[in-house]
Every structure is written in structure tokens, then in C-alpha cells.
Assembly symmetry: none
Homo-oligomer: 132 residues x 4
DNA sequence: GTGGTCTAGACCACA
DNA sequence: GTGGTCTAGACCACA
């Protein structure tokens, strides 16, 4: 759970995002129990109110469900996972393209820069499908 | 000057960013006068103080210089332009990669998704260097 | 916190200076919490925004650090103290010399006048190392 | 005429000060004609209004007198010179002492620091009356 | 309560 | 008109 306390993005939003990413990465699976908001608050060195707000937001978005007295659980909906993953990825792609367009970059430049970013010192001619 | 009033990112920061982008795009050139903070406030429907905060931040970052009573000008440093453009682009690349990695994407997937984002209906095989 | 409301030097700058002096004098120590900007505003009979501007300037100069919701603290860097003290003292010396040179004073005159300023009615011959 | 356009001290005040210093240094003598405010404005790259304000202030302080159609002249009062010189010097001394006291410096330290500032690499023991 | 952002608007020095 | 400072006060995220 990476949090940036100096970011203007509210911590509770960052938390929701981190949970989504953990889901997308497969580190959290449907049905998993997540720590109580008090526990999570201690782990993240964040005020319990803030965690609670994050949990409420996740519930509102249908990511989790709460069973009173038992805890909060990732919703047992396997399709959701795939959906979140592709939603977030596409949002990232869109944002990247917008940002680069805002800088006056054309598609080729974007692809080239991404490629270089992914393969820092690599020869960029060759067949990039074999690297990584 | 695109501003999102609902974003958690402060308006004054968005303004600094927009000026940087305009510079990167070549819409603003070194030595150009930018509107007075009061004028810009009217244009952007924002409080003059907010614009001033943005302008002061730009000054602090060395983007602009100010002649009291005369106005604020893009600093006459042509190298700055190129630097800002590449800085901002590289930041965007890095952020994109981080975000995608956070979602468990591997480099190939990132490149493929970007390619698809750039050429929505396009055949995705072939030699992408000749399209656009 | 001595403020001169008629000085052309902005209040917020005077405040930064006063904090630096308090540090140099040892009245503020690394790690100390300083009053919230609202509290300080009441104490100094100044608008909270003005105090905040001073605090932000101090942060920008690396004098303080801020924990959101917790307060603003003198940075915990003991070397900073000594550095500030000597920086400010040397700046004062330089300014004094410049000023006096601007008046056509030679070094000896400067030293003599300072000595007299420090020991108003004193015999100025003798060994000044034993006075004070 | 040294002017600092970024100083919070108004330019017209800086101008008055510079004239006083020139007087103290003997670069301007009683009875001397000083440039017209328009001329001076061009020389100093300052708005004529600003120079005029400086000249008015000097007149108000009894430094100069204006003969209509002839120009502005340093007042023909030789005692004034000496008075200004010692006034300004004493003000500088007082300010220096205050500043250093504000930093917690004791008189000896002030004298030593001034001495070192005046004789940068010099041996500080010996008889400083013979140096310079 | 604490810091951060923002609006609304006054007044000043300077061009 | 232009930038700079300041007051007054609202609202928000977070502790």
C-alpha cells in the first residue's frame, strides 16, 4: 500500500486505487478478507477515519462487501477483476495519450518514448518482442 | 487553458502545467508576454489571487520573469523549452509505466495497449512504424 | 516576534527572518513545533494568510517541515542552525561594510564607529577584549 | 546610482539614499546641479514619475532646492554634508548592532566578525591600525 | 484542530 | 494598467 502524503490526491482515494491495483495484480482475490479499518490504519500510519472513508468508497463502487461482525471482503465476483483491470489500464492509456498530445507529441513519438522507457539502454531497432 | 475545477489537483498547479504544455507545444515562445494575472483571472473565471499564485510558482521554477509594472514574460532561455518538453514527456512515460506495472502489465502489453489506444480500429499486427 | 508594519519589507518576510533569528539565538530548536498559522496570526495580529505565506516560504527554504493535520515543525537538522546563524551574520557584516563604503568610510573608521556604538561612553583606547 | 528593482524598498527611496551617499562620499558637492528628472529617468531606466518622487522627497528633506527653469541643485549648506554622513553612518552602525544582537552575538563577536570581513585572509592578531 | 486552497476585494509602488 | 501585499473569511482533507 503505497501512499503519498504530499500528493493533492486525497489519501482515501489513493487507498481505493491501491486496492484496485492489488486486485488487478492478483494479490487480492474475490472473497478475500481485508484488514479492519483500525488494523489498516495502523499498518498505513493513517487516521482510522481516512481508512473508513476509503472502505466506504470501495463498498459504494461495489468492490467490497461488509458482513457485520465478520469484516470486509472483496466481492466474490470474478468478472469484476478483469473489468477493473482493463478499466484502469485503459484509463492510464488515455491519460498518457492526452498528456503527450498536450505536449505536442505525435503517436510515433509516444510509442518510441514508451519503448525507450521500457528498454532503457536497449537497441531500439531489433525485434522488441523478444526482450523484456 | 484547460482547467478542471473538480480535480483534487489545485487550480494554480494546473495553470502552471498548462503554461508548460503551451511552451512545449510552441504556443508560447521565450520572451512572450503572458496576460496579467487580473486579465487571466477573467479569462479563466478564476480569482486573481489564484492566478497570481500560479504565476509566482512559475517564477520560482524559473519559467518566467517579471518586470514590475510591465508584466510577466516567458524567460528568454530557448534551452528551457526543450528541457521542459522532454522532462514532462519523460515524467508522463514513467508515470504510465508505473501505473501499468501496478496493474501487473508486462512491457509488451503496455506497448500493445498504447498502440491500440492510438489506432483504435487499426490492424494491430503489421509494421507499426509506417502507420499513423 | 517583532514586526514593523510600516516597513516596506513585507510582513511575511519579516516573519521568516524572525524565525531564523530565534533559531540562531537558540530560542527555537530543531524538531520544535511552531504555532499553527491561525494561532500565530492571532498572536501577531496579522491575517492568517500572511502567516501562511511566511510558513510556506520557510518550508520552501528548508527551514521547516509540515505534517498535514499535525502542524509545522522546525526541521530536525542541527547543522542548519549553525549555517543560518553564520549566513545571517555574514550577510549583516557584508551589508554594513557596503553601506559604510558607500559613505566613503575606510575600514578603520568602520571599526572605530562600531566600537563606539558598542561602548557608548567608553574609553576607546585600552584593550577592548576585556570589556563588554 | 545603484538600484535594486527587486528590493521591497521603493525605488524612489533608494534614489534618495544614493544621492545622500554620493554627497557623503564627496561625489556631489553643495551647489552642484543634478540632472533633470527626465534625464535621470533615462540614465537610471526608471519611470520619470519615480525620479520626480525621489526629487520631491529630497527637497522635502532639505537636501536640494529647485530654481524654476534652472534645475535642481544640492543645497549650498556645507554643514549638511557632514551631518548626513554621520547620520547615515550611525544609522548603519545601529542597524548592524541590532541585527547581530538579534542573532545572539555579543560585542566582541561583532567586532571580530567585522574585522575579519574587512581583512578577509589577514592575521587578526597584530595591530590592525597599520593595515588597509 | 491543522494545513491548503480559494474567493472577494482593498491598497500600494511603479510604468 | 501591472505586479505585490494584505485582510477577511469560506470550505476541504486529514488527525
Amino acid at each position: 500500500m503505497q501512499l503519498n502524503f504530499n500528493s493533492p490526491i486525497p489519501i482515501y482515494m489513493q487507498m481505493v486505487d491501491e486496492v484496485k491495483k492489488a486486485l488487478a495484480r492478483g494479490e487480492l482475490a474475490p472473497g478475500d478478507k481485508i484488514p479492519s479499518h483500525k488494523e489498516q490504519a495502523q499498518i498505513s500510519k493513517v487516521n482510522p477515519n481516512t481508512v473508513q472513508k476509503a472502505y466506504q468508497e470501495m463498498e459504494r463502487e461495489g468492490l467490497t462487501e461488509t458482513l457485520r461482525g465478520q469484516g470486509t471482503f472483496i466481492k466474490n465476483d470474478p468478472t469484476m477483476l478483469i473489468q477493473i483491470r482493463s478499466e484502469m489500464a485503459q484509463a492510464a492509456v488515455r491519460q498518457f495519450i492526452d498528456e503527450m498530445q498536450g505536449l505536442g507529441m505525435v503517436p510515433d513519438e509516444m510509442e518510441r518514448m514508451l519503448h525507450e522507457g521500457l528498454h532503457p539502454k536497449g537497441k531500439k531497432g531489433g525485434n522488441n518482442r523478444d526482450e523484456t
